[in-house]
């Protein structure tokens, strides 16, 4: 319990520091980002007036205070160039949810399929299933994703007669993007669970479990799988949260209106407030994800106490 509390406090502190640093960095950006297309047409006085209006000429600590005030109210300001004068929260809201849906669907599938495949590979290490799985893992990692995304798009739309582009009203249009998103993740989960299980299988306690008369299957289920899952549990919350950031390839390939690539676009268009909001969002997700992961891991692994975090690995 104490561990959780301290871990929580530490995360909040990190978050505050990150938010502040991001804010201060954003103040150092060129001011064009606050004007949009009108920048060149305005004279100096008009520019100053506008900046004044936005509160950007106040001393930095006042700005910071105001910024935090707004933040607490859930106000991230308005977009400037991306969709002028629209509240950031409104822009992001829909996009985040779209990406989250795709991400979660794919994550769910990847976990189920990937973990099963990995378990199978560990169980039959060196045999057919392991070799087949290894081929897949290597293939999925070695071939650039875009290549098989394109192949999938070209062939699967023809063979299975599936829609090429995402359409909100057509559930069938989900299949291909989710499939694409899952391919690499399945390989990823399969690879790690296999690795951790093989690690566990070589440990002495497995030998003792066998000597006391447990069947292989029982050893796998009661001892090995559970223990192998613990190190993976650490990254699970972050993986779940990160689904909101979408996939730049898949989303643009299937024209899904998600968050994938939004940050890049925002930077290119010099939309300072949008950039700020996205950076804040992603870094908080990182921090919260890690924290949840640590807490999750601590609930599984009794050896983890403050001071020797990660000592178990």
């Amino acid at each position: 319990m104490k561990y959780v509390l301290i871990r929580l406090l530490r995360s909040v502190l990190t978050l505050v520091i990150v938010v502040t640093v991001v804010f201060l960095l954003m103040r150092m950006m060129p001011i064009e980002g606050y004007f949009g297309a009108s920048f060149d047409k305005l004279d100096e006085a008009q520019k100053t007036a506008k900046l004044e209006n936005l509160g950007l000429l106040d001393p930095w600590y006042i700005q910071l205070k105001n910024f935090y005030n707004d933040l607490i109210k859930g106000d991230f300001g308005e977009s400037i160039t991306y969709r002028p004068k629209v509240a950031i929260t409104k822009i992001l809201g829909e996009k985040l949810i779209t990406s989250l849906r795709f991400g979660m669907a794919s994550l769910g599938i990847s976990l189920v399929v990937g973990l099963s495949l990995g378990v199978l590979m560990a169980r039959y290490k060196g045999k057919f299933w392991d070799k087949l799985g290894t081929c897949y893992v290597v293939g999925a990692n070695a071939v650039p994703v875009v290549i098989y995304y394109l192949l999938i798009q070209v062939f699967f739309t023809q063979i299975f007669n599936l829609p090429l582009l995402y359409d909100k009203t057509d559930p069938k249009s989900w299949i291909l993007p989710v499939f694409c998103l899952s391919l690499v993740n399945i390989a990823y989960y399969a690879m790690w669970i296999r690795r951790y299980m093989v690690d566990e299988l070589n440990k002495d306690y497995v030998r003792l479990a066998r000597a006391k008369g447990l069947k292989n299957k029982e050893i796998m289920i009661r001892h090995v799988m559970r223990n192998a899952f613990v190190p993976m549990a650490q990254y699970l919350p972050a993986s779940i949260l990160y689904t909101v950031s979408g996939s730049i390839y898949v989303e643009s390939l299937f024209s899904i209106p998600g968050t994938g690539g939004l940050l890049v676009t925002a930077i290119q268009r010099q939309d300072n407030t949008l950039v700020q909001a996205l950076v804040l969002l992603y870094s908080s997700i990182g921090i919260i994800g890690l924290m949840l992961g640590d807490i999750l891991m601590a609930t599984f692994d009794p050896r983890i106490k403050l001071g020797n975090e990660g000592g178990s690995r």
Binding site: K203, L208, A211, K212, G213, L214, K215, R222, P302, R303
Partner: protein, 359 residues
Amino acid sequence: MAQKTIEEIINSEVILSVEDLVIKFNLRGKELTAIRGASLDLHKGESLAIVGESGSGKSVFNKSFMGLLDANGRIESGSIIYKGQDLSKYKTEDEWIKIRGKEIAMVFQDPMTSLNPLKTVGKQVQESIELHQNLKGEEAKKLAIEILNDVGITEPERRYKQYPHEFSGGMRQRVVIAIAVACNPNILICDEPTTALDVTIQAQILQLLKNLQDKYDLTIIYITHDLGVVANVADRIAVMYAGDIIELGSSEEVFFDPKHPYTWALLSSLPQLGIKGEALYSIKGTPPNLFKEIKGDAFAPRNPHALKIDFVERPPYFEVSPTHKARTWLLDSRSPKVEPPLLIKKMQEMGAKRGDIID
């Protein structure tokens, strides 16, 4: 010494009988013979020590009784008779499950890694009970706590809920022993149960095993490369060299009247018997290459007393007494008389006086 007399042991029923066991391993396309025709009768209720240097095959020999050989190993020939069944013919997991734990249980060397770090100690003991004693839930838990108490863990109710990392090495070995005992086996194999522990704890663990032997009616095999460790607990000692048992006798016979030059060498290298100020004896040479076929007596190349025949023909067992036998040509009536080393002669004199056995 609370041991049974050697006659009592020899006359009690044979619980496990190994005959001419040959075990081979495949290693990178080559074949290695780890056990070369070893035979052994284990008597009910005894404690037998198997000693021998590292690599002599002690673990492999014993693991084969439980079907725990590594995947690249196999029993080539010979038999392991237990309760009328030949275990050497067992192949499937279903067959071995009937033996493992229930009939023969094992305690391994390293208590620090023998327990699952993510399960409570109590649950791991309870698992054995639920597997082999037809008890479930609360009843099984009660028995688990009782067994924890029996292996000398204080406040067993509280300790039941703790995890392995909250235990010291000695305490963990007690838990491992509890797990083995909880299977309610007939035979308990202890593979270097104290090697990883410090000396005072070693003695405690050995004492514990001795107590448990009476209480749970166990036949115990101690595996060790340290003769000194088992001097006090073993009724009989089997000396293993290069995959064969080259001398077998009661503890006293092996200690005070050893016949095989390898046993002489082994005893001479005991620190407990070393003479102050003199360098400790160490055996010259290295054990034979198990990849090659061994002709004659495996120890011959390292044996300063080796005879010509030692390099040609494998010696049979020569009986020294009804309970003592050794595989060495030196015992053949035709061999020249070879004097054992000084230290061994001193031991023999001590034995003749039937003085107190080294403690």
